[in-house]
Amino acid sequence: MDYLTLLEATLPDLIVVVALFAALGVDYGLCQGKSPHERGRIAGEVSSIGLLLALCCLAFQWMQGSVFEIAEGQLNLDATGLAAKAIVYGLTLAVIRFATRHCPTTHASEYHALILLSALGMGFLATTENLLLAFVALELVSLSLYALVAFKTSSPQSAEAGLKYFAFGGVASAFFVFGVSYLYGATGSLDIGTWSDWSDRSTLFALGLVFVLVGLGFKVAVVPFHLWAPDVYQSAPTPVAAWVASGSKVASVFFLVKLIAALPPGPETATMIFAPLATAAIFSMLIGNLGALRQSNLKRLLAYASIANGGYLLIGLLAGSPDGYAASIFYVVVYALANVGAFGVIGLLSDRMKGDGRLEDFSGSWRRHPGLSFAFLLFLLSSAGIPPLAGFVGKYYLFYSAFDQVEMSYVLGELLSGRNGWLVFLVCLALVMSVISLYYYVLALKAFLVSEDESPHLDDDEGISPGIKLCVFALALLVLILGVYPGPFMAFLQAAF
């Protein structure tokens, strides 16, 4: 490996690093004495420009068909890797746009810089095949997010959420790095790409894998590692909640899928991870969906919904086929798009007015902001899996990939025993839970679209800038397009495995 290749491969990330320092530098060098709002805006613009440049650079690399394979899988930048990075940076751009509107403290540039820093970590996490680098990337993401969650210094809840997140994340990281050490001990390699030609599966390997899964399970917020999610989503600044729900999840799922796909084939491996993952999926769907039913706070509701969605996407991993892996990634991307959009709208309509996201706060929104309310409708209906939106297609691919693995038999006993039975049960449970989920999604929509205005104190006197609206509509359009014409993207993902 020479440094020139490394530079070339990480050019988009370097651009983001430069943008990060530029945002800080501009803020502290040139913007002293300006209002926090103005400084936040400038820092946001600088970050956005950096991200756009990084995206252009990625597009350029992609068009050139560049494939970088650096230091035995430490960075694996093929077409899928570039796409993963582009998705992460694209989501970052949307979050930055939302964050520009309202900074919770006077530290405007740090706010954006931390978001960029976590985006960097996510980019590396999504593209690495090396366990150690994954750990470093994961820590980069986590540490930035801890600070971001606690960023609303005026609010004790925010600090409490940050602390919980930190403690939880610390334990999860400990599990992760402990698991990595076991895996290294068992296989003698940190590169998950080498697993496929390693045949002796020991208890050590199984334990290591489970510990790594605990670490990732925390990031994806699956039961029983989900307990931080409701508090964090509710109390963090809304753009940060959007960021935790989207970018961090997308990157973790990319790595998780890579990890599972790299497992050496064979029935033992399948049984080794099947039971833990299936348990996690079942309880995530149950607790996520049933928990969401009880919520009266929109952000908390979406937090439980995100736990449930974590359960759904594990089904694709359990299917264990390339189609299943592709379906999981497709689902998490679609979910992230809809969630960034939904949190974005929530932030636009409630944050600046000191609303804390209760459902009543949004009543009558359709009258004041018909466009945003309509976009919100699309985001939520997509998450609920209503055709022709992307969420429906995502769920369809997930459930289909699982059913595809069921060995069809006309004997009911055979059909419902062992792995077959689990898959059938999981899909049926997911279908039932999707129906239940419609209830709370519609409940949220009712507040937006049906209820009359009862909270004039939240009326927004200052217009929302067209740029931010454009961002919301672009997300809504993506959700719609991926629903109507999912073919190319899905084919692209399927080709990756």
Partner: protein
Amino acid sequence: MEGSDSLSWLVWIPLLPLIACVFALLCRSGVAASLICIAGMAAAMVPALRAFNLSGELDAPMTFNFTWMTIAGKSIDFGFILDPLSGSMVAMVTFVGFLIFLYAAKYMEDDLRRGRFFAYLSLFATGMLGLVLSNSLLLLFMFWEIVGVASYLLISFWFHKPSAAAAGKKAFITTRIGDLGFLIAILWAFQSTGALLFYSNGEGLLEGAALETLQAESGFWGLTAAGVIALLLFVGAIGKSGQLPLHVWLPDAMEGPTPVSALIHAATMVAAGVFLVARTLPLFDGSPALDVVAWVGAATALFAAFAALGQYDLKRILAFSTVSQLGLMMVGIAVGGVAVGMFHLHSHAFFKALLFLGAGSIIHGCGDEQDIRKMGGVARMKLTTLVYLCGAVSLCAVPYTSGFFSKDEILAAAYHDRPGIFWTCAVVSLLTAMYVTRQCLYVFPGKHRGSGGEPHESPVQMTAPLFVLAAFALAFGYFAVDRGVFEYFGGYHAAEHPLIVVEVAWAVSLGGIALCCLIYAGKPYGGEIADPLSGILGKAYRVMENKFYFDEIYAATVCLLWQITALVVAILDAILAMFRELIVFAAQAISYIFHHFGDRALIDNWVFDGTCDSLKESGELATSPQGGFLSSYLRWVALGAVIFGAFAIGGCS
């Protein structure tokens, strides 16, 4: 068969009007909206003409296919096709559509919802252009439905008139009956062959193995599957193209604004059915389905020509005339192949668009009067009269006009194989000449009989497009034959024209005009006076006036049946409602039990609150109140890790 990516520009043809439609909807000002739509149509004409040029040089259809989505390993492909059929249609639709748009800009000037009107027109154009370019049965069906929706919106555009709202509904529902046949055809074809593309390197529906599969598979009534599918497609065409017995919506569609009538009746919607038959003609080949098409077409042509003779509404006469001409096109396709039918479709598009727009101009000039008994003296509108007569002679098939060339070809083709159809068509031509002459006699000469002021000429923005169309109505046929229209469409072996065919063609058109003049000459007509024809025909004329009582028969049969069905359903519904109430009651009882004993006692108090309480308690006991929850959270993590580990080791060993 060339599969070529270089054809992707074809997508722009339907896309440009669609973009215009979206912008027109966003536009607040009607003027801007109309300009945008006209510009959209003009822009679409550029690739359309290029497609037309290119289509003449092709040996085989060119296609551009892409995968829409892949489900269960089966990919559903869409595509666009360029062949003489689609090339000529897009050119004609964009060209005539453009003229109609220009005309409409003036005609709808005073309408408050002009922007909306133009958006609908553009949507309609999108549907039609997409329809003719589709290389997939499914895509064609989608555009077909867009056309249906747009026509519904346009016909009932003046929805404050109850008759217009009803007419829109009638058009929508009646064509939907035909669409059912179309849909079944699609499903059948997909099930039998797995192909929905028409042409795709030998794997399409209309070529190679798939076609052979369909022709080998047996359907029912002794038909092959291909024959049955063809018939089902024809059912769709019957609905869309107003053939017997689903023609009833078409005369009522006259309630829409006049440019709509022109667009629907001349260039687009009604031609869609004929186009569908032409596109899928390989399925019809060699099966009795073709006879069905020919006879339904001939019967429709005859019936509608009679009905046209009994009407007093200016546009309704033209509507029945359209039904009749569509019947002739069907006959043309059935007896002479694609070339003959399509040739008549194109020449008809020009002169019928001209007649409808001319009629609009006359109605405009007479102060929104549509009853020909209250007209007369319209000859004062010199320009309109001139161009209207051009259209009329073309429709009468007076020798050397467009209508003559295309109708002559149908007659010649029919003469060889099916004498019965030939003579039916001859009678239709005679009647056509008669009703056109009758209409002109009522409208143009004499004194004005209307209550409003004298007719006045329409503004130049309305008459200018008419002149362009008039030129085409007169000369298109000659030039088309001269330039080899039949070789262009291909698949046609020029029928020789026996002397008798030519004689009949001359005799019926000129004879019809003369006969009509003879009947009406010197007799009083118009106003309250009974029509001179009714004196000759007696009771039969009443039947014609009432359009052969089709609406009444449907009201008595279909609608009655519908009401009875509705009653039965209502009774069933009531019974079901009883069951439903019982079930709801049972469910309520169960849910009450669960609510009180399950939910409240077990879940709320014990599991949920209990868990929360225990978490709280453990937190209070173990750590400071702030971190109380946290420690129990972390306990969960540990518990999870232990369970996972146990599972994994259990699975491993």
